[in-house]
C-alpha cells in the first residue's frame, strides 16, 4: 500500500483537517494562521505536504521553521526562525501575506462573519469575544472558515447579528472598493466543503462528506446555496496525511473536537 493510498479508517475530524488543508495549496509564501485545533492541524499538514513554503508561528511570539505539535511537547523544542510578537503580526496582516482559517459563530450568505455577540450589540443576548482581528483580517488577506456544527443558527438568514468581517455584500461595499479587495476562500463544515465561486460570489457546495446528502446541507442552511447536480465526495485522507496529522497531534487533541469523535464515513458508523 503506497502512502498516497486513501485510508479506510479515519475520523470525521481527520477528514475535515485534510479538506481544510487544501485552502493554502496555491498561497505560496504566506503566514498560515489556524485558530483552533482543526484549522491549526490543517495548516500544519499543508506546510508539511502540499505547501512547504508556508510560514507558521508557535501560537505565541515566534515564527517557526516547522509546525509545532499541539499540546504537551515532551521535550520537543520549537524551531524558532524569528520573533513574531503581536505588533509584528499586524505588520504581516497589513502586508497581506497571510491566510487565516478561523471559526466564526455565525456566517451569512455574503460570507460576513461574527464572533462578537449574539443579539443586539447594545444589549447582547450572549456576549462572545468581541470582533478581535476579524475586521482587519477580512479586508487585508485571504480567509477561510471552519464550522464543526453546520446548522441554521450558524448559517443565518439575513445578515449575521454583528458584522465583524467584511464579506461579498454589495450594500456594504465601501466607496472605491470591489469584491476583488475581499478574498474568502473555503468554508469547511462537518457536512461539506464550500467556496464562494457560485454566481456573484454565492456560496457553493464543492464537496459533500461521505454519506452526506445535499438535502441535509440545504436543510441546515438558512440561505440559498449554489451547487452542481453532481457534487463530488470529499477526498478521504491518505495514509501519508494521517501519518503527518499524527505527528503534529501526538496527544490526539483532535479526538475531542466533535462529540463522540465520529468516523469520517458516517455509513460505517451506522453499520
Amino acid at each position: 500500500m503506497s502512502n498516497s493510498t486513501p485510508a479506510t479508517d479515519y475520523t470525521l475530524t481527520e477528514l475535515l483537517i485534510c479538506a481544510a488543508s487544501t485552502a493554502w495549496i496555491d498561497d505560496g509564501e504566506v503566514l498560515a494562521t489556524g485558530i483552533g485545533i482543526v484549522p491549526r492541524l490543517a495548516a500544519s499538514l499543508s506546510m508539511l505536504s502540499t505547501n512547504p513554503d508556508l510560514m507558521m508561528t508557535d501560537s505565541e511570539a515566534y515564527m517557526v521553521a516547522e509546525p509545532v505539535p499541539v499540546g504537551k511537547r515532551n521535550g520537543y523544542e520549537p524551531k524558532r526562525d524569528s520573533w513574531m510578537g503581536f505588533s509584528r503580526i499586524f505588520d504581516n496582516v497589513w502586508g497581506k501575506k497571510r491566510h487565516a482559517f478561523v471559526g466564526p459563530t455565525q456566517i451569512d450568505c455574503f460570507g460576513q462573519a461574527n464572533i462578537s455577540c449574539i443579539g443586539p450589540h447594545a444589549k447582547p443576548k450572549v456576549q462572545m469575544l468581541g470582533v478581535r482581528g476579524f475586521p482587519g483580517n477580512s479586508i487585508s488577506h485571504q480567509n477561510s472558515f471552519f464550522i464543526p456544527n453546520h446548522n441554521k443558527k450558524v448559517f443565518v438568514d439575513g445578515e449575521v447579528d454583528m458584522v465583524a468581517s467584511i464579506g461579498y455584500n454589495p450594500e456594504r461595499l465601501p466607496k472605491g472598493y470591489s469584491f476583488d479587495d475581499i478574498d474568502i476562500r473555503l468554508i469547511v463544515t462537518n457536512l461539506c466543503v464550500m467556496d464562494f465561486n457560485g454566481p456573484n460570489k454565492q456560496i457553493r457546495v464543492i464537496s459533500l462528506h461521505p454519506g452526506v446528502s445535499i438535502e441535509e446541507v440545504v436543510d441546515n442552511t438558512s440561505f440559498q446555496l449554489s451547487y452542481a447536480s453532481d457534487i463530488p465526495t470529499t477526498a478521504a485522507p491518505t495514509v501519508e496525511q494521517l501519518e503527518i496529522i499524527n505527528r503534529v497531534d501526538p496527544n490526539n487533541a483532535r479526538a475531542y473536537v466533535i462529540k463522540d469523535n465520529p468516523l469520517g464515513d458516517r455509513r460505517k458508523e451506522q453499520a
Partner: protein, 293 residues
C-alpha cells in the same frame, strides 16, 4: 531621579472619569496588583482601554467602569470573561468595540500626538455602525477610496507590569512579547509601571542584549512600583505562568449569588502581602508553569 512610589500613591492619582489604559494581553502580564489597588479605591466612571482579560472583568464587577474600549475581553483558556460578559449582557457599560489593529493604530495616533490614522480596517463591518464617533474620510490622493480615520485613543493613565525596572523608570520585558505596552506608555499622560524586580541601573549595563529588552524610554515612565508577583493571577513570562486554578475559581464565582463579593472579600480586600500568602506564596507563584499551546 527616583520614581519609586507605592501602589497607593499611584492609584491616588487616578480620578473619577479618567481614561485608563492597561497593558498586557488577555491573561498575560497584566498589572493586577495595581488593579487590585484600584478596586480597593473609591474611583469610579473610568474608561478602560485594554486588550482585555480579568483586569477588565474585575473592574466591571466592582462598578468602576463607565466605558470599555476593547477588541476582545478573554481569559484565553476560558474564552469568555465572566464579569465582562455579565456587564455587557446587563448593558451596564458603554463600549467602543474595535478591531485589534485599529486599537493599535488608536494608541499609535495618541503616541504621535495626531488626531487619527487612516486605515481600511473596519470598512464594510458593523464596527463603524456601533461606533458613530469613528468617521470615514475621502482620500486626498488619487486612489479614490474611502478610509477609516481611526481616532487617537488618548489615555490619562497607563498601568503596566514588567519583569524588571530601576528607580529611574528603565523597564525591561524579557517575556516573548511586550504586546502593545510601549504604545500604552506613549499614548498616556502618566504611565505607572509595577515590576516584579527592582534592579540597580548597572543591571542593564552588563550586556547590550539586556538593553534590547527595554521598549520605551524612561521619560515615558512616571512611576515605578515594586510589587513581586504583581501580575498574578496573570502570567509574567519568563518568570511565571498564569494561575489556571485561580482563574477557574474566579470564573466559577460568577455563577453563585454574591460570587464577586466573596472573591473581592477573599482576594482584594486584603494587603498584597496577605494576597500573596492566600495564593500560595511568592515561591509557589514563581513555579506556575508557562502555558503551552
Amino acid at each position: 531621579m527616583n520614581k519609586c512610589q507605592t501602589a497607593q500613591q499611584v492609584v491616588a492619582q487616578i480620578k473619577d472619569g479618567m481614561t485608563v489604559g492597561i497593558g498586557g494581553w488577555g491573561p498575560r502580564r497584566k498589572p493586577m496588583a495595581l488593579i487590585r489597588e484600584l478596586l480597593r479605591s473609591d474611583v469610579k466612571d473610568l474608561t478602560i482601554v485594554a486588550y482585555g482579560g480579568a483586569d477588565v472583568g474585575m473592574l466591571c464587577a466592582a462598578g468602576k467602569v463607565k466605558k470599555v474600549i476593547y477588541a476582545f475581553v478573554s481569559l484565553d483558556f476560558i474564552p469568555l470573561e465572566p464579569y465582562f460578559r455579565q456587564a455587557r449582557q446587563n448593558a451596564t457599560i458603554e463600549t467602543m468595540e474595535i478591531d485589534e489593529g485599529m486599537f493599535l493604530l488608536g494608541l499609535k495616533a495618541a503616541a504621535m500626538n495626531i488626531p487619527f490614522i487612516p486605515t481600511n480596517i473596519g470598512l464594510g463591518t458593523d464596527v463603524l455602525n456601533i461606533n458613530p464617533e469613528i468617521k470615514t474620510i475621502e482620500s486626498p490622493y488619487s486612489d479614490g477610496k474611502e478610509w477609516v480615520a481611526m481616532p487617537a485613543i488618548n489615555l490619562d493613565v497607563a498601568l503596566l507590569h514588567v519583569d524588571k525596572a530601576d528607580s529611574r523608570g528603565v523597564c525591561q520585558i524579557k517575556g516573548a512579547d511586550h504586546y502593545m505596552d510601549d504604545l500604552f506608555a506613549r499614548a498616556s499622560k502618566q504611565t505607572f509601571v509595577s515590576c516584579d524586580e527592582l534592579v540597580e541601573s548597572d543591571y542593564f549595563h552588563q550586556d547590550p542584549l539586556e538593553a534590547r529588552f527595554v521598549f520605551w524610554e524612561r521619560s515615558e515612565t512616571n512611576a515605578v512600583v515594586h510589587i513581586p508577583g504583581g501580575a498574578h493571577p496573570t502570567s509574567c513570562d519568563p518568570m511565571y505562568g498564569f494561575d489556571v486554578p485561580h482563574f477557574k475559581t474566579y470564573n466559577a464565582s460568577v455563577k453563585s449569588d454574591g460570587g464577586w463579593q466573596s472573591y473581592f472579600d477573599e482576594f482584594v480586600q486584603c494587603s498584597e502581602q496577605e494576597y500573596l500568602e492566600k495564593v500560595g506564596g511568592l515561591d509557589a507563584l514563581k513555579k506556575l508553569p508557562l502555558p503551552v499551546f
